[in-house]
């Protein structure tokens, strides 16, 4: 079909379609879970049955990832609903930031991808927990919890829709995040396409620049957390710290996620969700590079 188009257009279209198609089941799953929570979970369920202490609720949020291994796009949808149902921001954001890494599927994939560096599994999980903990702490310090709850509830109000059916609610959840994912995927594909050959040479030849370069790469590639370990392990000339930086930042900050964050959270929250992990991952990787 449309075979007269240039090969470049074909490459862009294939990459875009593959990224979006791969994400659709996960987005829909998130939308269904969110609609189930909306319909069947009493309004203050989280407030009633989960701890209010930020440390305890944050730890519970992190552990939820082991029970519900989901992708990053799904987790953003759920977080919004969790906040609206009374979960503490500590629990909701801890879940969002760690669930995609600290789960059996991703950890098994990381173990399989690093047969000679099995410690990468522990480092990756540890980094995710540490980064998540600090990011949530910064979030709680800088943003009032009530404003996060209010924002979440405000986004969920549907003034023109009188008690929508369950499936209508699913579609209502799915459509906005689908459009943001498509936008992010489109930008990702174009940036990757334009990435110059010199960038790859830089990765090979400049160990000192490898950490920021690998972080930029992770943000640009917007890979699924199940796949990124295999990509990282293929960079054999790159230091352990740079590979860890790649694996740590990808599930928390990437191009498509930034667009999704922008839709669901205030500018201040987005800034914290993006810049805190960036600074922390860079610092952590540099410490490992220099001292370990």
């Amino acid at each position: 079909m449309l075979e007269a188009l240039s090969p470049e257009i074909h490459i862009l279209a294939t990459s875009f379609a593959s990224l979006v198609l791969e994400s659709i089941p996960f987005l829909l799953l998130g939308a269904i879970l969110s609609a189930v929570m909306e319909r069947y979970l009493p309004n203050h369920w989280f407030a009633k049955y989960t701890p209010r202490n930020p440390i305890l609720s944050g730890a519970l949020g992190m552990m939820l990832g082991m029970a519900m291994p989901i992708c990053e796009c799904t987790s953003v949808i759920l977080v919004r609903r969790m906040l609206a149902k009374g979960a503490t921001p500590a629990m909701a954001f801890s879940y969002m930031l760690t669930a995609t890494v600290v789960n059996p599927v991703t950890l098994a994939a990381t173990w399989a991808a690093f047969p000679y560096e099995p410690q990468m599994v522990l480092w990756r999980a540890g980094a995710a927990i540490l980064l998540s903990g600090i990011t949530v702490w910064v979030l709680l310090r800088r943003v009032a919890p009530d404003s996060m709850h209010a924002t979440a509830k405000g986004l969920l109000i549907q003034p023109n829709c009188k008690s929508p059916s369950f499936f209508s609610a699913v579609l209502h959840e799915f459509q906005p995040i689908f459009s943001l994912l498509a936008l992010g995927a489109g930008i990702t594909v174009i940036v990757r396409f334009l990435l110059p050959q010199s960038f790859w040479i830089l990765l090979q030849d400049s160990p000192h620049l490898a950490i920021p370069a690998m972080m930029i790469l992770a943000i640009t590639l917007s890979l699924c957390s199940q796949a990124d370990a295999f990509i990282a392990s293929s960079f054999t000339g790159i230091s352990f710290a740079a590979k860890l930086a790649f694996l740590a930042i990808g599930p928390m900050v990437d191009l498509k996620l930034i667009f999704i964050y922008r839709k669901y959270f205030t500018t201040k929250v987005v800034q914290i969700l993006v810049f805190t992990p960036l600074i922390l991952v860079f610092t952590l990787a540099m410490i490992i590079e220099v001292w370990l």
Binding site: M1, L2, E3, L5, E8, I9, H10, I11, A13, T14, S15, F16, A17, S18, L19, V20, L21, E22, I24, P25, L28, A108, A112, P115, Y116, C161, P164, S165, F167, S168, V170, L171, H172, Q175, P176, F178, S179, L180, L181, A182, L183, G186, V189, R192, F193, L195, Q197, W200, L203, Q204, L221, L223, C224, A227, F230, I231, S234, F235, T236, G237
Partner: protein, 282 residues
């Protein structure tokens, strides 16, 4: 036609396109087979939901989602490789403008094999001539281990490979000035872990007698063996589609090379967690 219908029809078109690809077994052009069932079920659900919306005369007024669906439908239309017989099948392996990324479906292969020309065969003088079956590369009596380049590279990297094992692999030719200087070509196969966007192609260097016989992006079957080089390095290059990684720890030493018109049922090797499945992908 009002906005209500346009929105619902665009979502329906997207969902139906996914279902059509799923029914035709062509989703592998885009994503790993382990995601196929989930995607097809999602498409069914979307069709059902949109049907409900139409019955209830409801529609979500979301222009951004409308544009996103439209882009997805166009992208599928642009990138989809039709399984109907067409000159493209031949062009995939003969034209220098063909792309590795273009997948070849099993039905295309069946049709192409029927009209396949006699394969061009070269016996290399660079290694001992090994026993081989003459035409059927799928022969069960073949002493050659039919496997794939990414799995071999894993074995070599993990130092599990027995270098005396004769192998048969398929791959696409990669030529570059640097390789030409050494009288080598690259033979590579792309590996997909989740979707085509994470494509990484794994390659072995292969010394050849006559470079002029080897055209960039032609597909070939190579029988021979791997030779340990002692160089514990990977060479990485990149083009606009994917990374290309050369496993320099071993050379591919050919004893028999066969040019193929339509090389493989699918040019991608889909990573499987089970190493036996992975090993047997050809």
């Amino acid at each position: 036609m009002n906005r209500f219908w346009i929105h619902n029809i665009v979502i329906l078109m997207g969902a139906l396109a996914i279902l059509a690809l799923g029914m035709a077994g062509e989703l592998r052009q885009y994503i790993h087979p382990r995601f196929h069932i989930g995607l097809v079920l999602s498409a069914f659900l979307l069709v059902f939901i949109v049907a409900q919306e139409i019955r209830a005369k409801q529609s979500i007024n979301d222009p951004a989602a409308f544009v996103a669906w439209l882009f997805l439908v166009f992208s599928i239309a642009i990138s989809y490789q039709s399984p109907t017989p067409n000159p493209r099948v031949e062009r995939e392996v003969t034209s220098s403008s063909s792309f590795l990324l273009t997948p070849i479906s099993s039905s295309m292969v069946k049709q192409a094999i029927q009209k396949k020309k006699e394969p061009k065969v070269i016996l290399s003088s660079t290694s001992e001539e090994l026993q081989m079956s003459s035409s059927s590369s799928q022969s069960t009596s073949s002493p050659f281990l039919q496997t794939n380049i990414p799995w071999l590279a894993t074995q070599v990297r993990e130092e599990k490979w027995n270098y005396s094992t004769p192998i048969e692999v398929r791959g696409q030719i990669y030529r570059s000035d640097e390789l030409d200087k050494n009288g080598e070509i690259g033979l590579h196969r792309p590996l997909v872990t989740c979707c085509v966007a994470d494509l990484v192609s794994i390659a072995f260097r292969m010394p050849v007698d006559s470079l002029s016989s080897f055209i960039h992006k032609d597909w070939i079957i190579v029988r021979g063996y791997l030779q340990h080089t002692g160089i514990d390095e990977l060479y990485r290059t990149h083009d606009r589609r994917m990374q290309l990684i050369f496993m320099d720890k071993a050379y591919l030493m050919p004893s028999h090379i066969e040019w193929i018109d339509v090389s493989v049922p699918d040019p991608y090797i889909f990573f499987a967690p089970d190493s036996k499945d992975f090993q047997e992908m050809y």
